[in-house]
């Protein structure tokens, strides 16, 4: 009987020591969490990706402007839709054989390669960038895959 009491006490002490260690460890984790949030490398990376998305949609828009200046018309393959990020508005990757359900801009960009969103690399036939026109002479290009709830959209009047 006395032996089992001693064993219980030893077990209890071990549990207490284990809990103490856990508490100290979690305090260090909280401090580490604070330090991590001050730097937040995840956000830094997202910001870099978002800025590259901005550059990409600007590049696509420049190609659109060039086409409109040359032909005087908005490319006929661009769908009429005020909401840019809609199904059927996604731009097809350059060199893809099957562009069904996507917007094929081969006529607009010629031989140059269209930029692709980092999240769409090696995934599907879409670039991750969407295009539409509002029926009033403006082309809208957007990047709905932008991170951290940032809205990346560019609207430009063509005439």
């Amino acid at each position: 009987m006395k032996g089992s009491t001693t064993a219980n006490e030893v077990k209890k002490t071990r549990n207490n020591v284990f809990l103490d260690v856990l508490v100290f460890f979690s305090i260090f984790l909280v401090i580490g969490g604070f330090a991590y949030m001050i730097l937040n490398p995840g956000k830094m990376k997202s910001d870099v990706r978002n800025s590259s998305r901005n550059t990409d949609i600007l590049t696509i828009m420049q190609k659109m402007v060039g086409y409109v200046e040359e032909t005087g018309n908005i490319p006929d393959m661009i769908p009429l839709n005020r909401a840019c990020a809609s199904i059927g508005n996604e731009i097809c990757k350059t060199g893809t054989s099957d562009c069904k359900g996507y917007v094929d801009l081969t006529k607009v960009v010629g031989k140059s390669i269209l930029p692709v969103d980092i999240f769409r690399n090696n995934k599907g036939n879409g670039t991750g960038y969407y295009v539409s026109h509002d029926g009033e002479g403006s082309i809208i290009i957007c990047a709905p895959l932008a991170e951290r709830s940032v809205k990346i959209e560019l609207k430009q009047f063509m005439y």
Partner: protein, 318 residues
């Protein structure tokens, strides 16, 4: 003599506090990609204000039930003030309740909201000071109560005055002023946390742990508000409000827990009383039984004495 809480219980409490803080930091890390969180900012502020009012009422109720600790009185009056300030802030920011879910807050960095935060920080610090003094002496409570009441009312009037002045005159206060005031609030909160931790009352009373929980989340809220983390401004404002919301929930749980403990104690007292009554009844019954037996023996003795007398009389006659 205060009963010390089991060591395991205390360890688990602080472990859960650390896990909650870590979980909140995790939420902050992922919050950038959560779209709906922005729409809830005014709503959560409003709910926090209502919770603060609840806490205030509960604390005052607790104080007036026993009138033991002025700490509760101070927390009660302080939280009532903070709740009113929070609700006032939401109504002013939104320009009416109809915009509650539209998320259209007038400013990204509302300067006036710093007042309720500072008020709460000062309240927490002073509540610790009061609890510290409570332990030293228990005399002159009425004087102390009057003094504290006037102090709270005075500071509340001061905050309201500044608040109304800012709103009426439309003064645009520099971001720098907000950061300085925010830092002062943070300082008060950290001092209060240290005070409560060093007083070691959390070893004896669960409520003190919940106070530490509250202050920890308020510190987190203040850090998000200032802002120290690498996050978007709108996200930090949101998370600051959410941290405050969790802080209030923590204290509310603390109060509910203390009510539960009080009921449990009351039940134990009732059980003890019933047990004592039962024992008393049993003793009474035994005494009665003994009395009856004694009486019977007395009677039988008397009867036997009567028969002896008869025999003696017979012998004498002979």
């Amino acid at each position: 003599m205060k009963n010390r809480l089991p060591r395991e219980h205390v360890d688990i409490q602080f472990l859960s506090l650390c896990i909650s803080l870590l979980a909140f930091l995790g939420l902050a890390y992922w919050a950038g990609d959560i779209v709906w969180i922005k729409d809830f900012q005014p709503f959560i502020t409003l709910i926090s204000g209502i919770f603060a009012l609840f806490i205030g009422v509960l604390a005052l109720l607790r104080y007036y039930t026993k009138k033991m600790s002025l700490n509760y009185f101070f927390i009660g009056v302080g939280f009532l003030g903070v709740g009113l300030l929070d609700i006032f802030q939401v109504v002013l920011d939104l320009g009416g309740m109809s915009n509650l879910f539209s998320g259209a807050v007038s400013q990204v960095y509302p300067v006036t909201s710093v007042l309720s935060k500072t008020f709460l920080a000062v309240i927490m610090f002073v509540s610790w000071l009061v609890s510290r003094k409570d332990e030293v002496n228990g005399k002159g409570k009425k004087k102390k109560e009057a003094f504290l009441m006037s102090l709270v009312i005075g500071s509340f009037v001061l905050f309201i005055g500044v608040f109304v002045y800012l709103m009426i005159s439309g003064i645009v206060v520099d971001g720098m002023v907000v950061i300085i005031v925010g830092l002062i609030s943070l300082m008060f909160l950290i001092l209060a946390l240290l005070g409560y931790l060093l007083s070691k009352n959390w070893l004896y009373d669960d409520f003190n742990y919940w106070l530490i929980f509250l202050i920890s989340f308020l510190i987190l809220s203040q850090i998000f508000y200032l802002p120290f983390f690498n996050l978007e401004y709108s996200n930090m404002m949101n998370l600051s409000i959410w941290a405050r919301f969790f802080a209030y929930i923590g204290l509310l749980i603390g109060f509910l827990n203390s009510i539960y403990v009080m009921f449990q104690k009351e039940m134990e007292t009732q059980k003890e009383l019933a047990k004592k009554n039962r024992e008393l009844d049993q003793t009474k019954a035994k005494v009665e039984e003994a009395y009856l037996m004694l009486r019977e023996e007395k009677w039988s003795l008397a009867r036997s004495k009567g028969s002896v007398d008869k025999i003696l009389k017979g012998v004498m006659k002979k």
